[in-house]
């Protein structure tokens, strides 16, 4: 059992269970200060309370709305700007430096600015998610179109294809492939944007819940929310991975 590579998951689960048990035992033996390091059972209780009381739903809803909204708008705008810049050189001259600067800075520093501009509501979180995703997608598409396989283009032309055939059979599928290829990263970015935005200033959302836990020194709640964000992002990652695998089944 210790060498079979197919049992790797089992081994990982066993080690995790052992660590959690040790952690729990240390907590019960008062070796850990519950103020800083609550035990797994306390964290589970906090989680259970969040769901049991139904308090969690508006927060989950807010974070999902912000992340998915920013993701959708970011992908669309990123594709449009990327395609436009790749096809129109004068536009690339204007857009590319801006995007390069935006790409170089940690874009979450814009969060407080967005709160001032758009208030503590959903809009400022969507904006932060959006800016994180759009820059990523822009570079994916912009770089991708300029690297489209010349041989495919020539092939379509020699088979008698028109400009529209090129767009339909070469450019669009290429763009779709690149965007799907960075979808997982984009999903991660979108949730980062939403949670950080909520952390800075909000009245709802998982990020707000963390900021609340911090100001009330509620470490069990903090861990519970971290755990929740982890699960949410992993689930979305898996969904994005499935989608990618299905749509890119040719690769």
């Amino acid at each position: 059992m210790w060498r079979n590579p197919r049992l790797a998951m089992l081994r990982q689960a066993v080690v995790l269970a052992v660590l959690l048990t040790l952690w729990e035992m240390a907590g019960r033996a008062h070796l850990l200060n519950p103020l800083y390091m609550p035990s797994p059972s306390q964290i589970a209780a906090a989680l259970g309370d969040l769901f049991g009381s139904g308090r969690i739903w508006p927060h989950l809803e807010a974070t999902f709305a912000a992340a998915l909204g920013g993701l959708a708008i970011g992908i669309v705008v990123g594709i449009v700007l990327g395609v436009a810049a790749a096809l129109l050189p004068f536009l690339a001259e204007l857009i590319e430096p801006v995007m390069t600067v935006l790409n170089a800075i940690p874009r979450v520093v814009l969060a407080p600015l967005f709160v001032i501009w758009m208030g503590v509501g959903l809009a400022s979180k969507v904006a932060l998610s959006f800016i994180l995703v759009a820059v990523l997608i822009f570079f994916t598409v912009f770089g991708g179109i300029r690297q489209v396989d010349r041989r495919l283009v020539e092939r379509i032309v020699t088979l008698g294809g028109t400009r529209w055939s090129l767009v339909r059979h070469v450019y669009l599928p290429s763009v779709a492939a690149w965007v799907l290829g960075s979808l997982k990263v984009a999903v991660g970015f979108a949730f980062t944007g939403a949670v950080v935005g909520e952390f800075v200033a909000a009245s709802r959302g998982l990020g707000y819940l963390m900021s609340f836990a911090q100001s009330t020194f509620n470490c069990a709640l903090m861990f519970a929310v971290i755990f929740l964000i982890l699960v949410v992002v992993l689930v979305i990652f898996a969904a994005a991975g499935r989608l990618e695998k299905y749509l890119l089944r040719w690769s």
Binding site: D149, R151, L152, E154, R155, I156, V157, T158, L159, G160, G161, T162, S165, H169, V170, P173, A177, R249, W250, S251
Partner: protein
């Protein structure tokens, strides 16, 4: 060039063999002079060294592509595609993506893609260079038989003198570029129809090969090793 003729262009690297093909098909403008083929663009097919199939389309969709560009509806185009895949020994593989085909199979799909358009003239630019020896010999045999049966004229660009001689009616030797020109032409006296693998055993083959080889070596710069380096 008469119907059904098979001619080859050989020459040192940089003599503009590929550029010539690209000019014929209109992918590249000739620096000087004009290209006269007397054929509509749709009558000319070209096969490159890379198979360049669309990776996101199944084999049969790749083959049907050119037909739909010519205005055939998708259903008929796919039927034609299946027929051509069958003819090239790929029956049943139409539903595979290029990634799931071997190099030889991909080459056959690319060939089906071009031949499905029933060209009168087929241009080939080092089409078999990337294949291993056995697959290559088999495909060359089949291509020879197909173009013979369909009476397609072929213009083949190659580095491989054996390939050129065993397939062609005439082999043209280009001089070294820039400003390359046709140095000489060699009629291949081996009768057609012929099997390109067996053609190498024909008594006329060896002397012709020797002839071409020494002319080419001289053109490349004297030493026969230079060709290997080129």
């Amino acid at each position: 060039m008469e119907d059904g003729r098979f001619v080859s262009l050989v020459g040192p690297s940089g003599s503009g063999k590929s550029s010539l093909l690209r000019a014929v098909i209109g992918l590249q403008r000739p620096l000087a002079g004009i290209v006269e083929s007397g054929l509509a663009p749709s009558d000319i097919g070209i096969l490159f060294q890379d198979d360049a199939l669309l990776p996101w389309k199944m084999a049969r969709d790749n083959v049907a592509l050119g037909l739909t560009f010519q205005g055939m509806d998708r259903r008929h185009a796919l039927e034609r595609a299946d027929i051509w895949l069958d003819r090239l020994g790929l029956g049943g593989l139409g539903g595979r993506y290029p990634r799931h085909l071997s190099g030889g199979q991909r080459k056959r799909v690319a060939l089906a893609q071009v031949l499905a358009l029933t060209p009168k003239l087929l241009l080939m630019d080092e089409p078999f260079a990337s294949l291993d020896a056995i697959v290559r010999a088999r495909i060359i045999q089949e291509v020879a038989a197909l173009v013979e049966r369909e009476r397609i004229s072929v213009l083949l660009v190659t580095h491989d003198l054996e390939e050129a001689i065993s397939l062609s009616d005439t082999v043209y030797l280009l001089s070294r570029g820039p400003r390359a020109r046709i140095m000489r032409d060699y009629e291949v006296p081996i009768p057609r129809p012929r099997d390109p693998v067996r053609a190498r055993m024909h008594p006329a083959f060896a002397p012709l090969y020797d002839n071409l080889w020494s002319d080419l070596s001289r053109e490349v710069g004297g030493a026969p090793e230079a060709e290997a380096a080129a």
